[in-house]
Amino acid sequence: MAKLILMFKDQVLKEFPFMKESITIGRKPDNDIQIDNLAVSGRHAKIDKTGSGFTLTDLQSTNGTFVNDKKIASQKLNDGDRVIVGKHTLLYVDAETDQAEENNIDQTMVLDTAKQRELLAKQRGGTGKETEKIGVLSPLGNSGMEDIKLTKKLTRMGKASNSEVRLSGLFMGATAAAISKRPSGYTITFTGGMTKLKVNGQVVKDSAQLKDHDKIELGSHRFQFHQRKADSF
């Protein structure tokens, strides 16, 4: 039985075997394939059984319907075609290719074939790295210093020569503060010494998670923190 595999960013969400002559795709709940996303029109497209195969037709959707990145009005589907609706992808799998599904009665299944498990296992790196964000410290005031990219997992700030960010000041500690990139994001930690650490005017005695545009003060040094996409540098 032929089927459509609904995917979002290479993640398999659901499978839709062709059980009817006509299938509708759209945001409204009465569609056979409901995709709840604003980029999808209420009634976006439909697929009709034509002869031995299936034909996809765009229903004058706002954002259009694409097959393998080409915008279409109406087109017959071939095995492996990627139908793009809004930000979602529907992968069309022809009947002959789809042998494992013959016994299947369920309307929707998730992750039941080794192939799908592989797909998920493969999504490593592909989606993660492109959108990776790097923290940046922009010095405020007339320090003459340039933006500091926080490329290291641990950035030490202080007087010590091994500090990634060397700061002067009479009471500045060897390591006054440290910024680490953790699973939860960038976090700044006060590591001791006489120089106070402030984030957005509040004294930080232990740690604070950093958000875009946070203002950091360490002694007389002031920075603004932001995150930029890795590929924007």
Binding site: L13, R117, A121, R124, G125, L170, K181, T191, D206
Partner: protein, 286 residues
């Protein structure tokens, strides 16, 4: 310069349902290295995998640290976002992966074997945490708990992408399917984090035998309430067994203390200046 005292303990239990213990661990406060691994594979292959991972990570770390090996000469390409120690750990894990993978390919009885690994390195000025798979590293600092590891499982990644909720992940039949482990492929991409240690930090490395049965909030509570790492390990094992002990369970706990910080030279100088000034003032007041 600061010094740090490390008090650590480790404990493992086969649990109530399994015949063999395929977990391995290592804890050495002097070396400052702590490792936990959860093996998989039939006929004791799991034990071989986890033991090999632990041994290789330790041996490579000891060797490179004692020789102060340059990052370019390590087993793997250095990661520029990490410190030297961080790269020692990264390379050690990659090396372990290569060896386990080759063993699995070359020997029928080891086919399909693999293991997770979670590593913690504690230096006076740096803590490195690294993991592959779903064994975890927690840090409890100032009463708050935080993970210093990322689960490499299908459900964790789906939760991160917003496709699944935490609730759904808990009950998913795919809960234990990993997306990364040591042994199944030639290359592996470990998760590595580096942080600055502070006085009173408490760390925990554990396999999923524990985390399947005890949620993060409860782990936090138990760590905060127990001042002795050995007692803590015992308590966790007991809790896991009380709740069914469905899997091998391994815990390593590391408590930091005794941070001695030298007062800054500037403060000493200024302090000295004032002392002089005050003694002079006293004299002139006479």
């Amino acid at each position: 310069m600061s010094t740090v005292l490390t008090n650590a303990a480790g404990l493992t239990d086969v649990g109530l349902k399994r015949e063999d213990n395929e977990d391995s661990f290592f804890a050495d406060s002097k070396l400052g290295l702590f490792v936990v691994a959860d093996g998989m594979g039939g006929h004791l292959a799991g034990e071989v995998a986890s033991r090999t991972a632990v041994d290789l990570v330790i041996k490579s770390f000891q060797s490179w640290t004692s020789r102060e090996t340059r990052e370019e000469e390590l087993f793997a390409h250095p990661d520029l976002s990490l410190s030297k120690t961080g790269n020692y750990i990264l390379s050690g894990i990659r090396l372990a992966n290569k060896v386990i993978h080759e063993m699995a390919v070359a020997h029928k009885q080891y086919q399909g074997m693999g293991t997770t690994v979670a590593v913690l390195a504690v230096m006076p000025d740096l803590v490195v945490s690294a993991n592959v798979g779903d064994s975890r590293i927690y840090m409890v600092r100032n009463g708050r708990i935080e993970r210093l590891s990322k689960d490499h499982s299908i459900v964790a990644e789906q939760v991160e992408m917003g496709i699944m909720t935490n609730e759904e992940a808990e009950h998913s039949p795919l809960k234990h399917v990993l997306t990364r482990n040591l042994g199944s492929s030639e290359n592996v991409d470990p998760e590595v984090y580096e942080i600055q240690p502070t006085n009173g930090d408490r760390f925990l490395l554990c396999t999923d035998g524990l985390t399947d049965l005890v949620p993060d909030a409860e782990i936090r509570q138990m760590v905060v309430a127990e001042d002795d790492p050995e007692n803590l390990c015992r308590k966790f094992i007991d809790k896991a067994l009380t709740r069914g002990g469905h899997d091998n369970t391994t815990i390593v706990s590391v408590y930091l203390s005794g941070f001695e910080k030298q007062p800054s030279r500037a403060a000493k100088k200024i302090g000295g200046f004032f002392v002089d000034m005050l003694s002079n003032t006293k004299q002139t007041e006479k």
